[in-house]
């Protein structure tokens, strides 16, 4: 399946979704004016990923690491980040071995606590990784 690679802009994060490497990564800054327009292509890609990769491949071990390396995101973006997480968690019922990593800079309690809140809502294990500056 073709990867989804969307470079970052001043207000939107970088999306690097590569099923061939079993890595989906979202990183950077998220405060777009039109948050739906920013995240809907990614949500649609995940639907294709379910149909074309999870449902239609013979690979016995379907693994994926979702890495969230956010520097900042506003409250509207948090809703869409949660949608992505919840969607991928739903695929674990179809055999996806999912790992979720939440990165935060040392001393950045805001991003760490935002991750803990989303972790609490998602009810799925997150690995929290502190990045030393």
């Amino acid at each position: 399946m073709k990867p989804l690679i969307i470079p970052p802009t001043e207000f939107a994060p970088k999306f690097y979704f590569n099923p061939n490497e079993n890595i989906f990564e979202i990183s950077g800054f998220s405060r777009p004016e039109d948050v739906a327009a920013t995240y809907m292509p990614v949500i649609n890609y995940l639907k294709d990923y379910e149909l074309n990769y999870i449902d239609n491949t013979e690979i016995s071990e379907k693994s994926l690491t979702l890495s969230l390396k956010m520097k900042y995101f506003n409250s509207s973006s948090s809703k869409y980040l949660l949608d992505i997480i919840i969607f991928l968690i739903s695929l674990t019922k179809k055999g996806l071995n999912l790992k979720i990593e939440w990165y935060y800079d040392k001393g950045d309690d805001t991003i760490k606590e935002a991750g803990e809140d989303i972790n609490d809502i998602a009810e799925f294990p997150f690995t929290f990784i502190e990045v030393k500056n």
Binding site: Y72, S75, S76, K79, T110
Partner: protein, 181 residues
């Protein structure tokens, strides 16, 4: 003698481009204070939510051009032991009761209650297509500031009022938190 020092102010129509310029300026301003990362991020995040709340919800009827300066207000103050943000935008009077209910509900909650409200609101929005913060912004502001959102509605005419709210951000508390790491 007042110890309240106005650091940044906007009055008038707010656009997305202006918000971007203002946030860069606020970020630079906060860096000049040599605050710890945690404190800076809290003030920055609350500024984003306040500015976006004003931008997404302000109401400007044609006949209200007289009130343009009061259409959107954003002020950041440095006080003795805390920072303070005042934000205001015009809203329709018919929307006051609903907004007042939301704010009163937020203000009666402690930290644990706010987390539960945030969790329930976020869960209710899963897979829904939204293009504003759909009520999460005010909860986020209260969560980050760990203080009540003080607010008032100043009547302009029979159709509109100025919705004004004030956020206290305790920088000392943020400092303590940082040093405890």
């Amino acid at each position: 003698m007042s110890t309240k020092n106005l650091l940044f102010e906007h009055k008038g129509i707010l656009t997305f481009d202006k918000i971007n310029i203002y946030l860069s300026e606020i970020d630079l301003l906060l860096q000049s204070y040599n605050l710890p990362v945690a404190s800076r991020k809290i003030i920055y995040s609350i500024s984003v939510e306040c500015l976006e709340n004003i931008y997404r919800h302000f109401y400007l009827p044609e006949e209200n051009k007289l009130y343009t300066d009061n259409t959107c207000i954003f002020q950041l103050f440095e006080c003795q032991n805390h920072f303070e943000i005042i934000a205001a935008n015009q809203i329709l009077n018919k929307n006051i009761n609903n907004l007042k209910l939301k704010l009163d509900n937020i203000n009666k909650l402690d930290k644990k209650g706010l987390k539960a409200l945030y969790k329930n609101t976020m869960k209710s929005l899963i897979n829904k297509n939204i293009n504003n913060n759909a009520g999460i912004g005010l909860i986020e502001i209260a969560k980050l500031s760990e203080n009540n959102i003080k607010y008032e509605f100043q009547k302009i005419n029979n159709e509109t009022s100025l919705f004004k709210f004030c956020i206290y951000i305790n920088a000392i508390k943020c400092l303590t938190k940082e040093y405890a790491l």
